[in-house]
Structure formats: structure tokens, C-alpha cells
């Protein structure tokens, strides 16, 4: 029991008294709103007391940093050991344009790189594909070949900085390019560090950048995990993501539950498919969460995530290595919370969300720029976003002590509540036969669609407020300089591809693609063959077309 009997007794007495006072006050001074709830619609009580933690056991449920259940963090020295990584998601136009932005960000003090690709690259199409019409370089960098990639990482010390790449169906290809680039720059694979997002389950659930059906997608992921465990030990071959699930309209509990259940699905799949024990690969599984605008809901969500995952790894999978029980995650502040109206308000939102991420103990953080509702971030806007993290780290004192909100009646109670609700979802999906089965039935997709619709209805009814949109709106315009990507980027990429196809050894390319095809069919790990293919200057689409050919293309069941 968390508090002594005397404390509980005293608390009960005081609470009763306080309740009576509340009733009196409400007679003449009613609350200014009917409901006080989180942005995800969880009701919050007026007051939390020791009674809310009656069933909490300190050692079992809260513990110490670096000890099971890791509620208070994985690292024994917390942010005093090192602050979270300032890792700004960034990509635009051509590889050269992006390289310039990356150097700017590194100069301005960011401590990790994160790559945003354009839609053709995300979907496994080259810039000269008809499907790429109008899309090249528009919302991220266009990467078609290893040559583009080398331009992207020009002058970036791959042995000293870690790079995250937000890429899913073509993850094997982009990772192969990174490995090939490292080799060319003389950096051994066992020294490069970074992450590929490579989480297909959330694509089927929420983000919809898909290529092949679930079964082969998951197989390719297991290849990357196996390859990483053997040859690239400092790399996170997967970033199991909740960010996109939340952006699609899920509640915080749904984000928590579906992400963790996706994690469970991957672990089960890798154990089934590869001759690895859980401790061989679990330490390198990483996660990616959203930091939305409700400060405490997000902090509690992140803490609950750590505790749930530790229990899952120890009890469900029997992991022995403490590092297998750690949940390491990156956070991005919520894009869907930002408004196009009065865009400078977004700086405030991003700050609160970043604070939530930090008080929730994130290992790595991206803060959105104020103009991202309208376009790619301008230099000035991204500078403010980066400074936000730096101010939090250097000026506010949040790094001074570990997990500062532990022990708060409210925070521990809400953490418990969110964990319990997440377990309900996890058990439900278990009963359906797992996440892939649940996806086939449309279960997570429909839960999210329902939540998204309900939220929009609440916004329209004024029950939930977005300042500047449905309350405190003004006619005044606050124009923000907009970044535009020229159509010339697409034209230039097309020209480069034409030139490259002329120059390269087409027999080497065909051979390498044939090797990938064979590996897909006979179950060999595709990664070495991908690396060979990108070195031969096969394009991203050429490799993805092999996957499409062998595995077929996923067809969206169109549930809504």
C-alpha cells in the first residue's frame, strides 16, 4: 500500500470536508464548464488525493530509475547524464537543399538528424514515375538513388551523429543506401547509429503509406531486425509508432494500446520467423509517440508506456536482459493540434507539448515549427522550434531531477488509469487473434475513425476548443512567410535519373535485382542484396518493384 493507514484515514476525512465545501461553493459559484476532460475525452476529477493511490505499491508500481518497471525511466542518471536528443524532422526539395538545411540545424545545436522524404520516395516510386506528378520534393526530400543519398549526407560525420529515417515500405532500400554510403565514407557498419521507422502495421492502421500486404511487409521487417542484430548493432531497425495513429484521430489510450500491441506483434513474428532469442533483438526495438496538447494526459501516457512494455517483455516474452525491458522512444509534438489560424500561437502549443514529452522522459524529441500547418518549415520557424527544446533543457530546470512528477496523486492515478485502459485494448486484440487479424477486420481503423469523427463533432459544437479557430477567432491576418518548392526540383530529378540510367552498368543492376527477387522467394535476408543493388545504382523504385512483383500490392479495404 502506498500510503499508511493513518494517512488514508486522514485523507478520507479531509476529502469529505472538502466535498462539503465544494457543494456549498457550487451553489453560488458554479464551474465555468460542464465538463473537464482531456483532449482525448477522459474525464478528470476535481481533486486527486492519497485515496486514489490506495492500491498502488511503491516498489512494485513506481520503483526507482533504471529498475523494473522503469516507470521513472531507463537511465539511472536521467537527463543529468545527458539530455534528450534534439532531433528535428527535416527534408525538402532536392538532396542538396536538404543537406543545407541539415547543416543549418546542426550548426544551431541539434544533436541528431531525422529525415523527411517526399511522397514518391515514401511510396517507393522514382521521381520520374507518372505517380510522382506534382509531388517531387514537396513535403520531404526526393531520393531516387545512392547518388542522391550521398549528396544528402555530404559532410555529415556518420560515425559521430545518429540519423533517423522516416521511411516504411522502402525502408530496406533507404537503409541499404545509408549502409552503402557509410562504407564509401569509410565508416564501418558497426559504428553507424540511427533508426529506420520501418513500422508497417501502423501504415495499415493509420498512415496508409503501404506497398505490399501485411504478411510480406512484416517479413521484410524481420530481415532488417536480423541484419541489424548481426552487423549494425547501434542501429534501431524499427521505430514502433503511435504518432501517426494519434494524428489519424485516435485517443491517447488508443495510441498507447495500439502501438504497444503492434510491438507485441513484431516480437512474436520475429521469434516465429528467425532463429533469435528475444534478448538478441529486443534492446534495439524503439518507439515513437505523439505529444499532444493535454499536458498531463501525455506525461501519463508516456510513463504508462514504459511500465506496460517492461511487463510485456518480462512476463509475456521472458526477456532477461534489462535492456530488453527498456522502452526507448522518440516523440514528436502533435501536428494535428496546430492551427492555420493565428499560426504564431503554434509556438505556444509546441512548447507545452515538448514539455509533456520531457516530463514524460523521452529519449529524443522533434518540435514542430509554427508554419507546418501551411507548408514546410522556414529557417526562422525551425530555429524557434529548436530553441524551444534548448530553452527547456537549459533554462527551465526540467533536467535537474529525474521524473519530477512521480508521486503526484493525479499523475500516478492517471498513469494507472491509462495503463488499465490500454491493457483492455491489448487483451481485446489478443482475443481477435492478434494485430494483423484485428487489422483485417478493420478494428483499429474503425476505432480511430470513430474517435476522429467524435472529436470533430465536439469541435464543431464548441465542446472542445481550438483557440483561434472556434474561440477567440479574429479577422486579423497574421501572414507567415511560406516555403514553396519549385516544380523544377521534379524536373531536375527526372533529368538526373535519365543520365544515371545511361551511365550505370545495367547488367549489374539486373543481376542485383534478380538476387533480391531470389532472396524474397527463398527466404534469405534481403539486406545484403539491397546494399549491393543500391551500389550498382539501382533506383528505389526498381527495388520496390521487385517487392511488388513478388509479394503483390496491398489493396486498401476502404473502411471508414
Amino acid at each position: 500500500m502506498y500510503f499508511s493507514d493513518e494517512t488514508q484515514k486522514a485523507s478520507r476525512k479531509l476529502t469529505e470536508q472538502w466535498q462539503a465545501n465544494v457543494q456549498n461553493t457550487l451553489k453560488t459559484n458554479p464551474d465555468w464548464k460542464n465538463r473537464f476532460s482531456t483532449v482525448s475525452d477522459l474525464d478528470i476529477k476535481r481533486l486527486y488525493t492519497p485515496e486514489d493511490l490506495q492500491n498502488t505499491d511503491f516498489a512494485r508500481d513506481i520503483g526507482a530509475p533504471g529498475e523494473f518497471p522503469y516507470l521513472r525511466g531507463n537511465q539511472v542518471t536521467g537527463y543529468r547524464g545527458q539530455p534528450w536528443t534534439f532531433r528535428m524532422f527535416s527534408g525538402m526539395g532536392s538532396a542538396e537543399d536538404t543537406n543545407r538545411r541539415w547543416h543549418l540545424l546542426l550548426r544551431e545545436g541539434q544533436t541528431g538528424l531525422s529525415t523527411a522524404f517526399d511522397f514518391p520516395t515514401l511510396m517507393g516510386y522514382d521521381s520520374d514515375s507518372p505517380k510522382a506528378l506534382g509531388e517531387v520534393g514537396k513535403c520531404g526530400v526526393a531520393i531516387d538513388t545512392l547518388e542522391d543519398f550521398l549528396a544528402l549526407i555530404d559532410n555529415i560525420p556518420l560515425d559521430r551523429v545518429t540519423t533517423s529515417m522516416t521511411i516504411n515500405p522502402p525502408a530496406t532500400v533507404l537503409w541499404a543506401m545509408y549502409c552503402a554510403a557509410a562504407e564509401i565514407k569509410g565508416v564501418p557498419l558497426n559504428q553507424i547509429g540511427g533508426t529506420i521507422q520501418n513500422d508497417m502495421l501502423k501504415e495499415f492502421i493509420a498512415q496508409k503509406t503501404f506497398m505490399c500486404p501485411p504478411e510480406p511487409s512484416v517479413r521484410l521487417i524481420s530481415d532488417t531486425v536480423e541484419f541489424g542484430a548481426k552487423y549494425v548493432p547501434r542501429w534501431n531497425p524499427i521505430s514502433i509508432s503511435g504518432y501517426h495513429i494519434r494524428e489519424a484521430g485516435a485517443t491517447a489510450v488508443q495510441e498507447l494500446a495500439f502501438t504497444l500491441r503492434d510491438g507485441i506483434e513484431y516480437v512474436e513474428d520475429i521469434l516465429r520467423r528467425k532463429k533469435m532469442s528475444v534478448d538478441d533483438f529486443a534492446p534495439r526495438l524503439s518507439f515513437f509517440f505523439n505529444a499532444h496538447i493535454d499536458l498531463f494526459e501525455e506525461i501519463c501516457k508516456l510513463r504508462a508506456a514504459r511500465r506496460i512494455w517492461a511487463k510485456v517483455m518480462r512476463d509475456r516474452f521472458g526477456a532477461k536482459n534489462p535492456r530488453s525491458l527498456w522502452m526507448r522512444f522518440h516523440v514528436q509534438t502533435a501536428g494535428c493540434s496546430l492551427t492555420a489560424q493565428q499560426p504564431y500561437n503554434n509556438v505556444v502549443r509546441t512548447t507545452v507539448e515538448a514539455l509533456a514529452a520531457v516530463l514524460g522522459g523521452t529519449q529524443s524529441l522533434h518540435t514542430n515549427s509554427l508554419d507546418e500547418v501551411l507548408c514546410l518549415p522556414s529557417e526562422h520557424a525551425v530555429e524557434i522550434a529548436l530553441r524551444t527544446q534548448q530553452i527547456l533543457a537549459e533554462e527551465t530546470g526540467v533536467v535537474n531531477t529525474i521524473d519530477p512528477l512521480a508521486g503526484s496523486y493525479f499523475v500516478e492515478s492517471l498513469t494507472n488509469e491509462m495503463e488499465a485502459k490500454a491493457w483492455e485494448y491489448i487483451e481485446k486484440i489478443d482475443a481477435m487473434g492478434g494485430m494483423i487479424a484485428a487489422i483485417e477486420r478493420g478494428y483499429p481503423q474503425m476505432e480511430i475513425a470513430d474517435a476522429a469523427y467524435a472529436f470533430q463533432r465536439q469541435i464543431d459544437a464548441g465542446e472542445k476548443i481550438m483557440v483561434g479557430v472556434n474561440k477567440y477567432a479574429t479577422e486579423a491576418q497574421h501572414p507567415v512567410p511560406l516555403v514553396e518548392i519549385d516544380e523544377k526540383v521534379g524536373e531536375e530529378q527526372i533529368r538526373r535519373l535519365k543520365d544515371l540510367r545511361r551511365r550505370r552498368d545495367s547488367r549489374a543492376v539486373s543481376q542485383s535485382l534478380a538476387d533480391i527477387r531470389a532472396a524474397c522467394k527463398n527466404g534469405a535476408n534481403v539486406m545484403p542484396h539491397c546494399i549491393a543493388a543500391v551500389k550498382a545504382l539501382a533506383t528505389e523504385q526498381e527495388i520496390c518493384d521487385v517487392y511488388r512483383e513478388v509479394y503483390g500490392e496491398y489493396r486498401d479495404p476502404g473502411l471508414y
Binding site: G134, K138, E203, K208, A248, Y453
Partner: protein, 134 residues
């Protein structure tokens, strides 16, 4: 004579798969009493135009968040024109900076709804602009 039912289509042309808004809009249109053909994401402009004609819709709502609207939205309008279906109204939404509005209006997009537009305002617009014709 019973009133004509309004038939609309909601589509996402291009590679952008962020369909939260499009799906919410589809549901909202249904709740407003329209018949909604939702064709999902990853549509080419050709597919969108062909479907709009086959379904004899009054209006096509296009959603795009990837910046490709400048090319894709006008293309849909153009294709409808080529197939003698210019009477189908085309509206757009998503991440569309205001500076692109004139170009889109010129190309034949009749209204643009960006984040923050209430669902009711969109429904009202459709009712006002379509009902008159029927």
C-alpha cells in the same frame, strides 16, 4: 415530386495517404443526408474523373496534404471538362496555402476548405450551391 438526393464524391488524388479529414467529411456528408461515394486514397486524377462520371455525382471533394494540389486539382477539373462533365462541381481541401487559392480558382476549383473550416459550413456550401441546380 420528391427532391433530388445530392450525390457527392470524396477522393484523395496523389500519393498522400492522410485521410483523417476526408473520412470525417465523408461521414459528415452522410449524416447530412447526401449519398457519398468515398474512393479512398492513392487515386490518379484519371481515376477520380472516371469515377465521378460513372457515379453521376453533383460534386467532387478533393483532399491533399502533400503539396501536390497545384498540379492534381486542376488536372481533375481538366479531365472532367474533356469528358463533357464540367457541370460537376469540384471543391478542394487539405494543406493549401492561401497564395495558391487564386490559381486554383482560375483552374475551376469552386471552393477551398482548409483546416478549421467547420463541417457544417462545408455542408451548407454544398447544399446552397448544388440544390439550386437540381
Amino acid at each position: 415530386m420528391p427532391e433530388r438526393k445530392i450525390r457527392v464524391m470524396v477522393a484523395k488524388p496523389g500519393l498522400d495517404g492522410h485521410d483523417r479529414g476526408a473520412r470525417i467529411l465523408a461521414r459528415c456528408f452522410r449524416d447530412a443526408g447526401f449519398e457519398v461515394i468515398y474512393t479512398g486514397c492513392h487515386q490518379t486524377p484519371e481515376q477520380v474523373a472516371a469515377a465521378a462520371i460513372q457515379e453521376d455525382v453533383d460534386l467532387v471533394g478533393l483532399s491533399c496534404l502533400s503539396g501536390a494540389h497545384r498540379i492534381l486539382f486542376p488536372r481533375v477539373v481538366e479531365l472532367l471538362r474533356e469528358k463533357n462533365a464540367s457541370d460537376i462541381t469540384v471543391i478542394g481541401g487539405g494543406i493549401i496555402p492561401e497564395q495558391d487559392f487564386p490559381m486554383l480558382y482560375d483552374a475551376g476549383i469552386q471552393a477551398i476548405f482548409t483546416p478549421g473550416a467547420s463541417l457544417d459550413s462545408i455542408v451548407e456550401w454544398v447544399r446552397t450551391h448544388i440544390r439550386g441546380r437540381n
